[in-house]
Symmetry: C2
Subunit: 188 residues, 2 copies
DNA sequence: TCCACAGTAGACAGATCTGTCTGGTATCGT
DNA sequence: ACGATACCAGACAGATCTGTCTACTGTGGA
């Protein structure tokens, strides 16, 4: 038992996650992963039937982590939780080594929408969207779907822009845009 | 002369552009490009010293096309041109075969900010940002920089979301968000 | 005690990748 | 007529990729 928690498997996942995120998926080979994880090739193929399965595990693992992180964001009431959530996203996007959203980046390398990796990305996005929509609805906004669409838009824009442009500028900008989307008039 | 406009070079660029955009850059090899372009390998390396240079040419070529397309957007006055610009982006994102923004996708495959490809992407983004900022300023908004940041955010979110989620929904959503960013109160 | 299992090390096959090189053809300006 | 240029066809080298296979080690339960 404990195939899920075996030390070797854990090392493979940790190494692959870091390399995939930092350098891209197609750019990182199995040989590199097993070398940096300090694992034999046979051990790798004992835990993962193929590289594709490793990639899917990477996406789903990161999805679990992000869902847990977002679910753990504190806040008194839905409006405060929403603002805290986007503050947390702003912090995330300013971490050293930030290189955009791993789901967006992975999708760029997997064009086929039917591919398991894309399916996992779609599931994660659907979860985020519904989470935000529920918070917006709980905050008493009648057009929760529409506002949630804007908020997802802002999340994606933040993830892309913080990597490609200046992440410091975006923090305040996103907060302002979130407030505007919630219909609150913002003093500039 | 005419090395830039030679038919073989043109075929290489057209084929590579379509394949890179549709399938990703690392996923498409030189052999595939020359086969589909109907070009000899020596001809390819006669026009491009390396694959990296082809990729850079691809990014810069697409940048020229997008700048021309955006510069050609009509409109009476800056506010109308801005709205028309984002309408055009909405159309773009609903084209069949749309697979997100080629610059964002390319950046996902090139982590190093110093790489020529990333530099070309950064230049393109800077041009778009300043174009939008000038329109906002010309429309009489005092905080043009801030609003331009939001509008870039919306552009990126549109490009990502139209590929990964439902592009039809986004069209109206983006227009609403643009109007909100411009400080106009929107009736939902 | 013994077997199943997780692990290491590394050779190997077969495909694919980038880039070079040879050799030949056609066109065009001087 | 001639040389430069643009092009095609394809072999080749050398690296790298995924995935398989052999052979061996250590450990923990039945």
């Amino acid at each position: 038992m404990a195939r899920q928690e075996s030390p070797a498997r854990h090392r493979i996942m940790a190494t692959a996650s870091a390399l995939f995120y930092a350098e891209g998926i197609h750019a990182v080979g199995i040989d590199r992963i097993i070398a940096e994880a300090g694992v034999a090739k046979a051990t790798f193929y004992h835990h993962f039937p193929s590289k594709d399965e490793l990639v899917r595990a990477y996406i789903e693992d990161q999805g679990r982590l992000q869902r847990a992180a977002i679910a753990g964001v504190p806040g008194d009431g839905p409006r405060e939780r929403l603002l805290a959530l986007y503050d947390a996203l702003g912090e995330w996007s300013r971490q050293p080594g930030f290189r955009g959203c791993m789901f967006i980046n992975a999708a760029a390398e997997y064009p086929d929408p039917a591919h398991p990796v894309r399916q996992a990305v779609a599931a994660q996005r659907a979860w985020f969207r519904s989470t935000v929509r529920d918070l917006v609805a709980a905050a008493g906004h009648p057009e929760a779907e529409r506002i949630a669409s804007i908020l997802v838009l802002l999340r994606d824009g933040l993830a892309v822009g913080a990597d490609l442009d200046d992440p410091e500028v975006l923090k305040g900008v996103v907060r302002e845009a979130v407030l505007r989307a919630l219909g609150e008039h913002v003093q500039i």
